[in-house]
């Protein structure tokens, strides 16, 4: 009777199971009724919607939702979500939902994006989302590792199936990075097990290992490996080089997926690793300081380099790729402080970044209607956007200002404040200085783009193609995604507490 070994609460697992079952269902439908191309998108949306509906919204830090528990008084559970986990799962599910809407596989869209057919596209998105949702809640090392790879590999396939020129090359570089990252993570995990003698992320065994000098060294090495592996996934400098290569060749919604859902998975994985570390180093140790320093330097380098290069980019998707690198720094900065409030601050910031990014990516998907490869997109295509299509201009403006952290996108401002607060509270003044400089750099980056959209129509050059072009026709899915994002950004700018309170 193996069922009695571990107790399973299926209701708790709905957020993970829904996309997984959805993926299976899509493949099944494709096998049984290959002609029913229109069915896949509704199945995908329904699966993600069911996952969203199954999230434990009322969860608190004191009483996390748990399942897959071993029997016994000190029951240990292998699936656990608290408020931060809930937020990350929400990001992954809602982000995938919006990406699917933007892709619209099986509708008219299909011909210009994603070569694999609707079943493949929906199946891959659902599979990757399953991984992203699972990794946050995984409390044992093997599941964690499998989940993080499950979140990555389908994304590689999605990049490879993009229509843009050079998609295979981009996918290859992403694959190489994934493998390297996997190698780092596997080494890290091996060392973790060696040091703690325990195949789960448990505070108790970690504390024992921390106090034992020889094991302590192994543990530090393990943490270093894990951080390096996650650095790739997060596209933090110096592990970032794949990001612009993969982004520019992908269809815009796929790039959006890499920038948002994949980031949520990476942050989720990092939170799982750092969670026990936070409680162990809370007492204040030298190792806390050195880990803080390493992460802080990564954060500082990411945001500075990302913003500086983004300042020069002309391809909007390349700009967004570098902006993703910069924003990874902003997510890392509070995380580096290793305090419980800092972790929730980092997740809250991620939520806001994801909203802003999705908004901007949705606009790029609408503005560049043909699948244009690298080097063919240009910021000049946004000239006079405010006049051609107010909806696109408003969503673009809100998204860019959210990323820049300027009103009227109050949400972005509050997110910046939330991210800086733990750094100031911990007294890392060198990092504060770099954050301040990067607020200004970031504003320069995003306003440069916005400048094109608000620029008055150049009446002197009547032959300007960008100007005389009619408003781009929006596919229904894309239009819904744009409206949803605009509504979310406006609503959350009025009541930021709704979004930011979630992670607490």
């Amino acid at each position: 009777m193996t069922t009695s070994l571990i107790s399973i609460d299926w209701r708790v697992l709905v957020p993970v199971l829904a996309p997984a079952i959805g993926a299976l269902l899509v493949l099944l439908v494709d096998a049984l009724a290959p002609r029913a191309r229109g069915l896949h998108l509704p199945i995908g949306l329904a699966a993600l919607g069911a996952g969203l509906g199954g999230l434990p919204y009322a969860v608190t830090t004191a009483t996390p939702t748990r399942t897959l528990c071993l029997p016994g008084p000190d029951a240990r559970c292998f699936y656990e979500t608290g408020p931060t986990g809930l937020t990350l799962q929400l990001i992954a599910l809602a982000g995938s939902l919006l990406v699917l809407l933007m892709l619209g596989p099986g509708t008219r869209h299909l011909d210009r994006m994603q070569r694999g057919g609707p079943a493949v596209t929906v199946g891959l998105v659902l599979a990757a989302t399953t991984g992203a949702v699972m990794v946050v809640a995984a409390r044992d090392l093997p599941t964690w590792l499998v989940a993080i790879e499950l979140a990555t590999l389908p994304a590689v396939a999605l990049v490879a199936l993009s229509r843009g020129r050079g998609a295979e090359g981009g996918a290859l570089s992403l694959l190489m990075v994934s493998l390297t990252s996997f190698a780092f993570l596997a080494c890290g995990i091996g060392l973790w097990v060696l040091a703690t003698g325990d195949a789960s992320f448990s505070t108790d065994t970690l504390r024992v290992a921390f106090d034992d000098t020889p094991r302590h060294r192994v543990l530090l090495l393990s943490i270093l490996f894990l951080l390096a592996g996650l650095g790739f996934k997060l596209s933090a400098v110096p592990f970032h080089t794949w990001t612009p290569q993969a982004f520019v060749v992908s269809d815009e919604p796929i790039a959006a997926y890499l920038a948002t859902v994949s980031k949520a998975a990476a942050v989720g994985a990092a939170v799982v690793v750092l969670g026990p570390l936070v409680s162990v180093t809370a007492a204040g140790s030298d190792d806390g300081h050195s880990i803080r320093l390493v992460l802080g330097v990564l954060a500082a380098a990411s945001m500075t380099l990302g913003n500086l290069v983004a300042l020069r980019a002309d391809d909007p998707v390349r700009l967004l790729a570098w902006s993703t690198i910069a924003q990874a720094g902003w997510v890392l900065a509070p995380l580096a402080m290793l305090t419980p409030t800092a972790v929730s601050a980092s997740v809250a910031y991620l939520l806001v970044y994801v909203l802003g990014s999705l908004a901007v990516f949705a606009v790029t998907a609408a503005v560049h209607p043909r699948a244009e490869g690298a080097g063919e997109r240009s910021l000049t295509a946004y000239r006079g956007l405010a006049r051609r299509s107010p909806l696109l201009a408003i969503v673009l403006g809100l998204g860019l200002l959210t990323l820049a952290g300027l009103p009227p996108a109050v949400l972005g401002v509050v997110a910046k404040i939330v991210a800086i607060t733990p750094v100031v509270a911990t007294g890392q003044w060198w990092l504060v200085a770099i954050l301040v400089a990067n607020i200004v750099l970031g504003i320069a980056v995003y306003l440069r783009w916005l400048l094109y959209a608000v620029r008055p129509a150049p009446s002197i050059t009547p032959g300007d193609t960008a100007e005389s072009a009619p408003a781009p026709r929006l596919d229904p899915g894309l239009r819904i995604a744009l409206l949803l994002l605009a509504a979310a950004l406006v609503l959350l700018s009025l009541v930021p507490g709704l979004a930011l309170g979630l992670a607490r």
Binding site: P407, I417, V436, G497
Partner: protein, 525 residues
């Protein structure tokens, strides 16, 4: 209620005008905006008179509250903001700059008003920062879209420089705010006051806050964003910049470092005062040789704000009074001057002083009178608004503890008289919710501060010199034919008359701005 109406009205009407800017015609947009601005003004007056207060939780999990109130320091500036917005919208009805639709133009003006009012009224540190940032994007678009279109590159650079400089300043201020919030454990200004921080903590927080706000004011080495922004901005943009945005900086200096970290501010004060005086002299000297009239007025703003910085830096009650009145006076005077210069620029195409033109006195006497009132106010002529701020700033620097210099005010004020909406800055500042703030930490070095007083007095002489230079170059001159058609339009006449009257009224009755039973030098309760 007044507070909510005064903020929601411009926010909603402004956003709707911007969103619907393609569909609404210019006339309708103008009247809608005018109605919103007038409604906000009425609500502001009501709020100031009733001492309204709102306190609600906003981002509860992170301890940020929607906490707004009026008091004796906020109200004059809020009233100034609301009035100037009405004038600017009124001016736009007839003299809207080209560059975009009417809805967009008025919407931006109203959003700037929203940001300024929220800044002046909030009592939550985090919300203060957010409100402070609200004005950035509307002002950026205003300069970028509606600014002087002779040189697109210069226009773009001026707009982005404005945003980046002020964003840098406010980010530095943000770190100060967050440090303060972290140390005090709350972002409610009233409770921060009660937290009782140590003097050293106060010093570095005050330093961060002062540096951050100094960019916005602007104080001397941080002023280089102001002249290009003023030169390029449309008339309404320049007016709002000078009359409203700069005031947010000086108001912030009073509300944050001075009130919340008084011990720290007292130690930063001499530095601030010194930089203020350098700004007075620097601005004055540049004004003596500057050829572009709009840029000249911008540099004179740097000089005038230098007087405010000096007055605040003395750390005395008298200095605070001086800063408050100099703030409002500069708002009114520079608004008038920018309206006049904007009108001249519309008519002449440029305001290069080296070009010989028909004398204003002869050809356009209406504009001529308005210009002369503005210049006279700017040079600090007694009897006009500009006099009190500068005179008291110098007096407070010469003798921070004394009250002798204030005798004329006491006399003017009819001893115990209180302004029409009863308030008293000293009560507000020195005893807020039962917490005593003593700003008595006078300047540590009497020689330094007296030297600064002398230098500032020299700066006042420079102000007279450059004002008269301008008057000589464009107001006086040979006889020229009267040009009725080119003179002030009715709307311009109305706007300028209101401001000119305000300058005279404030000059004769300064107690409208600082009043109370013991205005200064008296008992610091």
């Amino acid at each position: 209620m007044g507070l909510i109406i005064a903020m929601v009205l411009p926010a909603v009407v402004g956003s709707l005008l911007i969103i619907g800017s393609r569909r609404i015609n210019a006339g309708a947009a103008g009247f809608l905006a005018l109605a919103a601005a007038a409604g906000a003004l009425v609500a502001t007056v009501a709020a100031a008179a009733s001492g309204a207060r709102i306190k609600r939780s906003w981002v509860a999990d992170w301890g940020i509250g929607a906490n707004f109130a009026t008091d004796q320091i906020s109200s004059p500036l809020a009233l100034l903001t609301a009035s100037i917005t009405v004038l600017v919208v009124l001016h736009g009805l007839r003299h809207r700059p080209p560059g975009g639709s009417a809805g967009l133009y008025y919407g931006l003006l109203l959003l700037v008003e929203l940001g300024a009012l929220a800044t002046f009224w909030t009592r939550d540190l985090i919300v203060f920062f957010i409100a402070f940032e609200i004005v950035l994007i509307p002002m950026w678009v205003l300069i970028h879209r509606f600014g002087d279109n002779h040189d697109p590159v210069a226009r773009r650079e001026a707009a982005i420089r404005f945003v980046l400089y002020t964003a840098l300043g406010s980010s530095i201020m943000l770190t100060g705010i967050l440090a303060l919030v972290g140390q005090a454990g709350t972002s409610d200004m009233r409770q921060v006051l009660a937290a009782g921080l140590t003097s050293d903590t106060q010093l570095w927080i005050a330093l961060l806050l002062v540096i951050g706000l100094a960019v916005k004011v602007p104080v001397f080495p941080f002023h280089s964003w102001l002249p290009p922004a003023h030169t390029i901005a449309p008339t309404a943009g320049s007016v709002l910049l000078a009359a409203v945005l700069l005031k947010m900086g000086t108001y912030g200096l009073i509300r944050l470092p001075l009130a919340l970290t008084p011990d720290g501010f007292a130690r930063v004060g001499p530095l601030l005062a010194t930089l203020g005086v350098v700004g007075i002299l620097w601005g004055g000297l540049i004004c003596l040789v500057e050829r572009d009239l709009k840029r000249l007025i911008a540099y004179s703003s740097v000089a005038h704000m230098g007087f405010v910085a000096l007055a605040l830096g003395t750390g005395s009650g008298l200095g605070l009074q001086a800063a408050l009145i100099a703030n409002v006076a500069h708002g009114v005077i520079s608004a008038l001057l920018f309206f006049v210069v904007g009108a001249l620029k519309d008519r002449w195409g440029s305001v290069d002083l080296s070009v010989v033109r028909p004398a204003l006195r002869e050809s356009w006497p209406g504009l001529g009178v308005a210009l002369m009132v503005g210049l006279a106010g700017s040079l600090g002529l007694p009897g006009l608004a500009g006099f009190w701020g500068e005179f008291l700033a110098i007096a407070s620097a010469w003798n921070p503890q004394g009250s002798g210099a204030a005798a004329p005010i006491v006399w003017l004020q009819d001893a115990e008289r209180i302004g029409w909406f009863a308030y008293s800055p000293l009560d507000a500042l020195f005893e807020i919710d039962g917490i005593q703030i003593a700003l008595t930490a006078g300047p540590p070095n009497a020689a330094l501060i007296r030297g600064l007083a002398v230098a500032a007095a020299l700066g006042a002489v420079l102000a007279a010199a450059y004002s008269l230079r301008v008057a000589k170059l464009i107001w006086m001159g040979d006889e020229a034919p009267r040009d009725w058609a080119g003179d002030v339009t009715p709307v311009e006449a109305l706007v300028m008359a209101v401001l000119a009257i305000a300058i005279i009224v404030l000059g004769l009755m300064p107690y409208l701005i600082f009043s109370g039973p013991t205005p200064f030098g008296g008992v610091l309760r």
